[in-house]
Point group: C2
Chain length 322, copies 2
């Protein structure tokens, strides 16, 4: 295990260790946009695989793998990056069965690739569940221990200001990443690690997490009620069982991007969402959907959440001519 | 200013931002060996410039610049990396006059280089002075503000477990590095920053630093007395005015490297020093000196420092046949 500055540093270092410029990483459509920034900064190509309500589409994953094989690009494919719990931005959780299915598919194409293809499981939101049972991580998949890289964090479930994350990595990846960590910053703050040890061993962590889960559950509920009340009927979303986000999709004709009227009008009313288009890799094999938005219930108060959704609903109605 | 995880992260990010594989960075002979690791990990070449008791040899710097110009390698020269206060490993401090002199020399060769050549001033030990007056940093050099990158830290003068450093960077470098920081880890722990703000504004930082300076002064003195007592007369060193290290040089015939008898014998007596050879860049234009060692008085108790020097002195006498 390697301790990092939030899980972000683990994602960066694993990508630095595993990928060269021009390599390919499969990501979800949509995916965590900061990870796309990492790929871009290192000249790595992202290929998108669609997601469904229970996570990654295995059918589409197989199609993408097959097409990479045909084009020869499979030789540059190094990883599948999966935000597996209450995904940022969609709120979707990938089922354990699908994780195992994805690992099997990746293995199937290793021969064509000529090297191992890893699953990088980003479990940043795992502890922020407020409904249902925990889903096993890909680490539990028998026979795949040497293909799974797991990135977790204490920032999200405990305190964003601590920025302590961790990674569980198979041997050769571990060796490469620990060396990179030494070069990058010579180790994560010992003070923060000690603080977390105390919080974890004293039970304060669990206590705080339970309170946090309740708080986010309440905010998620409040946002849901507000969306039902204020959003036009055409707007669609999935109900997340945890995490911090709703992923709202508006009719295709309506654009949500940074330059769109919708975004600008919302901003003028002090409402900020993450435009969906930022969450898609620059994958030339498909058009980026432009009609989604990530709406977060993490930071705002319940009152502000309701107010924000009311205002955003107003803008949506106006744009849809309702 | 950019806040980082110790100054190590600043050194790494600046180097990532400024240098491509195959580029050249001038370093001191000897220099901070962890920085050499950064260079090596990124395929960057180090060229060594000798140091004297008042720091970098400007004469040798000019020779190295001239030879880089002649070979055409000057086009790949991006920075001079200077550990300017109580240098790790030599304990040497570069005078302000020499810093200005170095900046002037670098500027002189910019035309041949075809781009700016920066001075990366690593001031990690600056606050750990226990004798004499502070030396101005290169930031004070008039007309060179756009060529100086300054890396400082609160780890060394306050608490090694906090790992909060900072960098002062001219505009274009700042922009590049802040982007890298975002990708690497999305920001340094806010909790640690708040803690430091409190320590600094309450005066606790100054209080602690003063105590620390006194403690290190005492240890340095203790080590000096022990070296005078137990080391053979042929061993040479400079007396540092701060920091954590002595840089001891033994007769050239005696090797201090990891595989040397001296090192192994010392280790067998639980005495660990940093072999000098680790502190020299892989610069093919000169042979690496193999007869130095970095001895630290930072971590040990006064009693252990005396005991360690006594044992090391014994091994040295044995090896020199005394």
């Amino acid at each position: 295990m390697i301790i990092t500055n939030g899980s972000q540093q683990m994602l960066y270092m694993v990508t630095e260790a595993m990928c060269d410029e021009g390599d390919v990483v499969i990501v979800e459509d949509p995916t965590y946009f900061v990870y796309l920034g990492i790929l871009q900064s290192r000249g790595i190509k992202g290929r998108g695989v669609r997601i469904e309500e229970d996570g990654l589409s295995l059918e589409h994953l197989e199609q993408v793998l097959e097409s990479l094989k045909k084009s020869g690009e499979i030789k540059r494919l190094k990883m599948l990056y999966l935000v597996s719990y209450f995904q940022n931005p969609s709120g979707v959780t990938t089922s354990y069965e699908k994780k195992v299915g994805a690992l099997k598919l990746l293995r199937k194409y290793e021969k064509a690739a000529g090297h191992p293809i890893f699953l990088l499981e980003d479990a940043a939101y795992r502890e922020l569940r407020f409904k249902g049972e925990d889903v096993k991580s890909a680490l539990s998949a028998k026979g795949f221990a040497n293909r799974v890289i797991y990135a977790g964090t204490y920032s999200k479930p405990f305190a964003t200001g601590t920025r302590v994350g961790f990674g569980i990595l198979p041997d050769p990846v571990y060796t490469a990443v620990i060396r990179i960590k030494g070069n990058h910053d010579f180790g994560t703050s010992n003070l923060l690690q000690q603080l977390l040890v105390k919080a974890l061993s004293s039970g304060r962590y669990e206590e705080h997490l339970t309170a946090l889960q309740k708080r986010y559950a309440k905010k998620a509920k409040g946002m849901l009620v507000a969306m039902k009340q204020y959003f036009p009927a055409e707007v669609q979303w999935w109900e997340p069982l945890g995490g911090l986000y709703y992923w709202a999709r508006v009719p295709q004709a309506l654009k949500t991007g940074v330059k769109s009227k919708l975004f600008q009008k919302a901003l003028a009313k002090d409402v900020l969402y993450v435009p969906g288009e930022l969450c898609y890799a620059n994958d030339p094999t498909r058009r980026k959907p432009e009609n989604a938005m990530r709406i977060s219930f993490g930071g705002g108060t319940e009152q502000n959440i309701q107010l924000g959704i009311e205002r955003l609903g107003g803008v949506l109605r106006e744009m849809l001519g309702k």
